[in-house]
Each structure stands twice: as structure tokens, then as C-alpha cells.
Amino acid sequence: MAILIDEKKKTVIQGITGREGRARTALMKGYGTDVVAGVTPGRGGEEVEGVPVFDTVAAAIEEVGEVDATAVFVPAPLVKDAALEAFDSGVKLAVLVPDRVPIYDVMEITAAAKANGARFVGPNTLGVLSVDKAVMGMLGGRAESAKKWFRPGPVGVSSRSGGITSSLAYYLNKAGVGQTTIIHVGGDTVVGTRHPDVMLMFEDDPATEAVVMFGEIGGTQEEEVAELIADGRFTKPLVAFVGGKAAKEGTRFSHAGAIVEGKRGTYEGKVRALREAGATVVDEYDRIPDETVRVLREAGIAAGGGQKGR
């Protein structure tokens, strides 16, 4: 099992003929994702990596039947239209990769997803990868790297940083700990799927026995995860790290989401909330793998997979 995606989900790629679209089509197909169609208006009839290209999502569906998910690689100003088009065509999951999508566009996407019973990940996300099953987005960069870096096991990974998502999985593997699904929730302040949403999905996934979460200063995602634990809605062992300990209040770093505003969203507040709820909070990033091994051992969970990464 896994969350959000697996090898059975029929997937389209919007913006398939662009530079990123082409490169990540190779990654997604090469890793095992069932990519059934690509979409670029005006380019219908072409092929990218053996994937037929259509002018619209609706045209793709007419030809290949219902699809489950879309990975969006169009320029930021066009992301809103791409997402709304997918939702209107009945697609229930969208992974929005581009950076710099205006926040009011994201709020309109949020409203449309809600109205259509759909979910989206991102924007500004490297995507989602269910180990040895499928990837949506650009996690791993190339299929061969993705196959080498990510190994199956019992741990779910959720991160607010893209680079860290791969890095965490790699270091966990080195420590002998494999993963179910790894997800980069996105670096922006408003995203479709947040840490608390991911925790609830991992809670329902029988294959996921523990979770590693990379949090950051700013916003309230980590505090909300602490509330889920306190309320008994998330019950699996959680190892958490909060980045940005040293950030000065009011300074915005390169993640739009990582801003400390007043007392809300501070490093201390997040760490305290998570610890009080019973999560294991690691102070040093480099210690995450060892602490995860310890937590798994104490919970009697076999680490599985791992160690095949170089």
C-alpha cells in the first residue's frame, strides 16, 4: 500500500511538451507511473516519450478513458487554468509542480478542488513518490536515481522542502530504513495538501508504520500535526525536525512559507507542541536517521528495505 499514488493510477501530464514536462515524463514513465496521455493546447497529435499528446484534458479522456491524476508542468501564470481544467474533467488528484503561482490563483484552485471533491499537491512541489510503484512530479530527477535513492519499507516521509525530501529518504536508506510514500507538500504558504492532511492519510495506510516529517518555521502545519496526535487522530510514531531554528523574526527566507510572524510559527513553539504531544523531535538534521532507527526499534517495527542506496 501507499498513499496518493501507485502504479495503477492513470495519469496525464499537462505541459508535456515543455522542457520540464519532457524530462519528467521520462522519469515518471521510467519509474512505473501509468502515464496515459499528455496535454498541450495546439500540440494534439504529437508524441512525447511514446505518450500521445492532446489539446485538452477532455480530448485526452475521450480517447484514453477516465484518468485519475494529473501532473502539471505549465508556466506559473497558467497553473490555475490547468488545474481547473483537470478538475472540471473529473480528475481527482493534481500535482502542481511550478514555483511562483500567485496566491489568489491557489485559493481559486482550492475552492475548485473542494467543489469537485478533488485534491491537489503543491504548488511549488517536487511531487509524490510511492516507492517502487509510481512517481508524480520530479522527485529523484531521473528514473535511475529514483530507483537507487528510494527503497521500500515502513516509513512515510512528508517534507516542506523539496531537496530535503530526497535527502531524507537517502539518509534513511543508508541507516537501513525504507519508505512507503514520500511527499513534498510544497514550499509555499498556501498549498493543497499540508502536513496534517498527509498524517491522516498515513494513519489510514496499513503499510505505513511510522512517519518522518521535515517541518519549517512559519505557518501552523506542525502545530496542527501536534493537535492530531494529542486528539488521538494520528497514532503512529512520528520523528520530526523543524528547520530554521536560527531564523530572525520577520526575515523571510527563500521558502515563502518560512516566515516567522510574531509568536506564531516559531521554532520553539512548534518543537514544544510536537514534544508535548509525544512526537520525537530531533534537534540536529543529521541525527534523523539514527533517531528513526531507535524509534522503530522501540516500537517493534522492522525497518525493511534500505541500505541499497550507495
Binding site: A76, P77, D99, R100, V101, P102, I103, Y104, V106, M107, E108, T110, A111, L126, L139, G141, R142, S145, W149, S159, R160, S161, G162, G163, I164, S166, S167, Y170, Y171, K174, G187, T189, V190, G192, R194, F214, E216, I217, G219, T220, Q221, E224, G243, G244, K245, A246, A247, K248, G250, T251, R252, F253, S254, H255, A256, A258, I259, E284, Y285, D286
Partner: protein, 515 residues
């Protein structure tokens, strides 16, 4: 910066139909006098700076006559309010205040919706006032497609306990505030205090609007110079860096100066991260070693070597830093030798005389570290390169050891620049120039430029010298990706015939002024 000055915000409110005090901006005492004359009554002069608590810091003063306004303005302009120099004043009518309220539209991250907050109480210390009067504070989410309708505003005012004419006026004002926020794509638009005057008018006495950085491109009317949120006006280097990034969409480059006015030996390092989370984690590691950050910088998202080069040049331009630290998440998807080449070019041009530790973990990391350390051997200071299996904490400790052992008093003579003839040259997408000295190229046995050119756009002519195998215009449009191989690899392994000039507008002037 994506924050608007009070007077800019009030202009937007006025356009939306909101009542604001009569007056306007003044940049000289004479302008302040003219503004006061137009108001024809007592005025308030407000320093236009991005700080809170202006009143206590002398940033808000009053004047009864136009001449007094000019005198007060002369004192305020150029003065310092909480560390910011005052360049502009808002001169407007002094309101006769009957009561104060608060109104705001902010983006609620958790809900992914705008949130209207209205409080029937307001003024300085709104957080505490609101907490003490929970029954007077109304919060309601706004459907971004539906918007706020007039009766929604009235209902919000009613829930906060308002009645009569004030209720109706506030209801309308809330709708105008929402319309303003939506039109300029504000992350937050707040009015505190929202004033009821003695005459019963509802007026915005202050205004704080922050624009979504990502939406600034579709709002040229706002005249925002740097689409980023700063808690201060951008520094000269911030602006130089922003202009590098502005027109180059390949990867991202973010730079913010955190400190100025320090000296060598104060423990400041130039920080060069890669990726938001990786940068933050690396920053924590370097701070844990007792260093302080001169700047925050992040080049990521598969940037070209030229972008990393420019970032490094800007970091080094800051002056008396004790060391240079680079590190990202450790397992980058991008091919890391591009970054290595960018750093090598910058370090060589700076004739690096402070220790540098760079963690280049990720795809092609072996090659990246080989380039970084192998090609910087002749520089005075040590440059160490690390990979994904070397933790950031370890790398930060290495920098600590190198800095502690380094003799900063010693001066290092620079190797003289060798003459270089541009016998063949072409332009690049960011205004750079690639040129070859055919005297050297003809003698060169390695032809390393051909082998290492990432886009493969070079070929040898009959004399064994490199030239483009594509039209010049195509190279200038981006086919030349500025991988920097034909300078960096050529210098290290060839005869030094290749040279790349990459302009950074304003940097030379900045450095000259600092000397």
C-alpha cells in the same frame, strides 16, 4: 519589496471608495507646507517607514499651521526611525477621533481562503485589545470567487456589536477593503485604527498592505521595485542581486543581506545555500559553530553555472567576511558540477583569501568536488569540497577549524592577469560574452572546450580553434547555457584561450564606492 507604504495603500483604498484622511506625500519641507495648506487645518506628519510603533519612535508628529508643518518636516526628513532613514512623509488632516476599530483581510494559509477580521475595538496593541474583547471580534472566511457582499459587511459589523449609521458605514468599508485586497492581490491588508470621527465618518487612519510576491508581475501599477518581502528597504547589494535574478528564469537565486558594518574577525560568514529547506538546515549547522551570517543566499532549481557564479561574486562583494560556506540538502537532483564551475570562476576572480567549505552532494558530486578543489589549488586560501555522505554539521566544523587556523593578517599577492585577445567571440542570453584567444587555442593540445561544452555547440575550425556549430543568434538566445566549461575547464586543463565575461550591473560601482 512587496510591502506598500501607508500612502500607497491609502491611494488604493481611496480608489475603491474608502474614506481616507485628506492629504498626501511630501518629500521636502516645502511640499509638507503645501500639503498642510491644502488641508487647511491641523495636520499629522507620518514617517513612511516599514516599522511598527512609529509614534513612540518620533515617526508621527503634529502641526497646527503650514509653517509649523514645514519645520517639523525638516526635522523628520532624513531622521532615523527605528533604524530606517525617513525619505517620505505622509501629511494629512488630523482626525478628531470618537472611537477606534480594526479591520483586516488576510490570507488564511491553513484554510486556503481569505479571512476577514473586524474588531469593534482597535488602536495600538490590537492583539491584546482583541484578546480582552472576544465578543467584539468577528472572523469570517471569504469565498474567493463569490467575494464579500454588502450585506456580509453589514452582518460582520452587526456581530461585532455596531448599530445605526456606523454599522452601515463600516459594512460598506469592509466591502471596499476586500475589493482593495482582491484587486492588488494582497497577502494582508489591514487598517488599524479604523476611526469613527467626531462627525460620524468612518475613515482609515492607517493602512498596511502586503502584496503577494508572486503576483507582483501582473501589477505594474504598484511600482514595486523588488518583489520580495523585506522588513527594511533593500540594500544596494540586495538590488544588484535582485536584478540578476529578475530576467533569468533558469533556476532561482535569492539573496538577502542580513548584516553590514562588521569587521574581519567578527565571525561573519558568507552563506550560499541550495534549496530552501537544505539552506535552512545548513544555516543552523553553521550557526551552531558560533559563526554569524552576513547574508542568506539560495541558488537552486537547477540554476546555470553563470547564476551560481554571479551569486558567489555578490556574496564575496560584501567585504570582511571570515569564511564562505556553501551547502544544500545534500542529495541534490541537479547536476552539481555546474555549481562547482560557477564557484571556481568566482573564487579565482576574487583571488579568494578566506577559507571556503562547500558541500556539493547530489547528482555528479564526484566530478563537482574534483572541479571545485582541483581547480582552486593555486588560490591563497583553502577550498574544501564535500559530498552527500558528509553531514552539514561536519562541514561547518571544518570551516570552524580552517577559520581558526587561518592567518588573516597575511597579504597574498595576486598572479598577474595574462593578456587575452578576443579573436572570436559570441554573446550569451544574460548579456555575457564568450571569447577565444586563437593564439592560445591553436597551441592547445587538449581541446578540452569541445569535450566539456555541455550543450555541445562548439566545433574546431581548420586551425584547431573552437567556434560555434550553430548561428550566433541561437547561442545568444540561450543555446549557450553559460555552463562556463570553456573558461573554467580551459584554464585548468587547456591553454587558457577561453574567457567568459558575465556582467553584474552595479557591482563594480558598488565595490568602488566601498573602498
Amino acid at each position: 519589496m512587496a510591502r506598500l507604504y501607508e500612502y500607497q495603500g491609502k491611494e488604493l483604498l481611496l480608489e475603491a471608495g474608502f474614506a481616507v484622511p485628506r492629504g498626501g506625500v511630501a518629500r521636502t519641507p516645502d511640499e509638507a507646507r503645501a500639503r498642510a495648506k491644502a488641508v487647511d487645518g491641523p495636520v499629522v506628519l507620518k514617517a513612511q517607514v516599514f516599522v511598527t510603533g512609529r509614534a513612540a519612535a518620533g515617526g508621527i508628529r503634529f502641526a497646527d499651521t503650514p509653517d509649523e508643518a514645514a519645520t517639523v518636516a525638516a526635522e523628520m526628513l532624513g531622521a532615523d526611525v527605528k533604524g530606517q532613514a525617513v525619505a517620505e512623509l505622509l501629511v494629512e488632516e488630523k482626525l478628531e477621533i470618537a472611537s477606534e476599530m480594526y479591520a483586516g483581510v488576510i490570507v488564511d494559509d491553513a484554510a486556503g481562503q481569505p479571512l476577514l477580521i473586524f474588531a469593534g475595538v482597535g488602536g495600538t496593541g490590537i492583539e491584546e485589545i482583541a484578546a480582552a474583547n472576544p465578543d467584539k471580534v468577528v472572523r469570517r472566511h471569504i469565498d474567493v470567487n463569490r467575494g464579500l457582499r454588502p450585506y456580509d459587511g453589514v452582518n460582520a459589523a452587526r456581530e461585532a456589536g455596531l448599530t445605526g449609521k456606523t454599522l452601515a458605514k463600516v459594512g460598506r468599508a469592509l466591502v471596499h477593503l476586500w475589493e482593495t485586497a482582491r484587486r492588488c492581490e494582497a497577502r494582508a491588508a489591514e487598517i488599524n485604527p479604523l476611526v469613527v470621527t467626531g462627525a460620524g465618518e468612518v475613515v482609515a487612519a492607517d493602512c498596511r498592505i502586503t502584496i503577494d510576491d508572486y503576483a507582483v508581475y501582473r501589477h505594474p501599477e504598484l511600482g514595486i521595485e523588488v518583489a520580495r518581502e523585506f522588513d527594511r528597504p533593500p540594500t544596494e547589494l540586495d538590488l544588484i542581486a535582485y536584478n540578476v535574478e529578475k530576467d533569468d528564469y533558469r533556476g532561482t537565486f535569492y539573496f538577502v543581506q542580513l548584516e553590514q558594518g562588521y569587521s574581519r574577525g567578527d565571525g561573519y560568514v558568507g552563506f550560499h545555500g541550495a534549496g530552501g529547506g537544505g539552506s535552512m538546515m545548513s544555516m543552523d549547522a553553521v550557526l551552531a559553530e558560533g559563526f554569524k551570517l552576513a547574508n542568506f543566499c539560495d541558488t537552486s532549481g537547477n540554476p546555470p553555472a553563470s547564476k551560481v557564479y554571479r551569486a558567489a561574486k555578490i556574496i564575496l562583494a560584501q567585504g570582511p567576511i571570515d569564511g564562505y560556506f556553501g551547502s544544500g540538502s545534500g542529495v541534490a537532483s541537479q547536476e552539481q558540477f555546474h555549481s562547482a564551475r560557477g564557484l571556481v570562476k568566482a573564487f579565482r576572480e576574487a583571488w579568494l583569501d578566506i577559507p571556503a567549505v562547500i558541500r556539493l552532494g547530489g547528482n555528479r558530486e564526484d566530478l563537482a568536488v574534483e572541479i571545485l578543489t582541483g581547480y582552486t589549488q593555486s588560490l591563497p586560501a583553502p577550498v574544501e569540497g564535500y559530498k552527500k555522505d558528509d553531514p552539514a554539521g561536519f562541514c561547518a566544523r571544518r570551516l570552524r577549524e580552517l577559520v581558526d587556523a587561518w592567518d588573516y593578517a597575511k597579504t597574498h599577492e595576486r598572479l598577474p592577469e595574462e593578456p587575452h585577445d578576443a579573436d572570436y567571440s559570441f554573446g550569451t542570453i544574460t548579456g555575457g560574452t564568450v571569447s577565444y584567444d586563437y593564439g592560445r587555442c591553436g597551441e592547445c593540445d587538449t581541446k578540452v572546450c569541445i569535450e566539456t561544452c555541455v550543450p555541445g555547440i562548439l566545433e574546431l575550425d581548420d586551425d584547431g580553434c573552437p567556434r560555434l556549430n550553430i548561428p550566433l543568434e541561437d547561442a545568444a538566445k540561450g543555446k549557450c547555457t553559460e555552463c562556463l566549461a570553456c573558461e573554467v575547464e580551459c584554464y585548468a586543463r587547456g591553454d587558457g584561450g577561453g574567457k567568459i565575461h558575465l556582467p553584474i550591473p552595479g557591482l563594480a560601482e558598488y565595490l568602488k564606492a566601498r573602498l
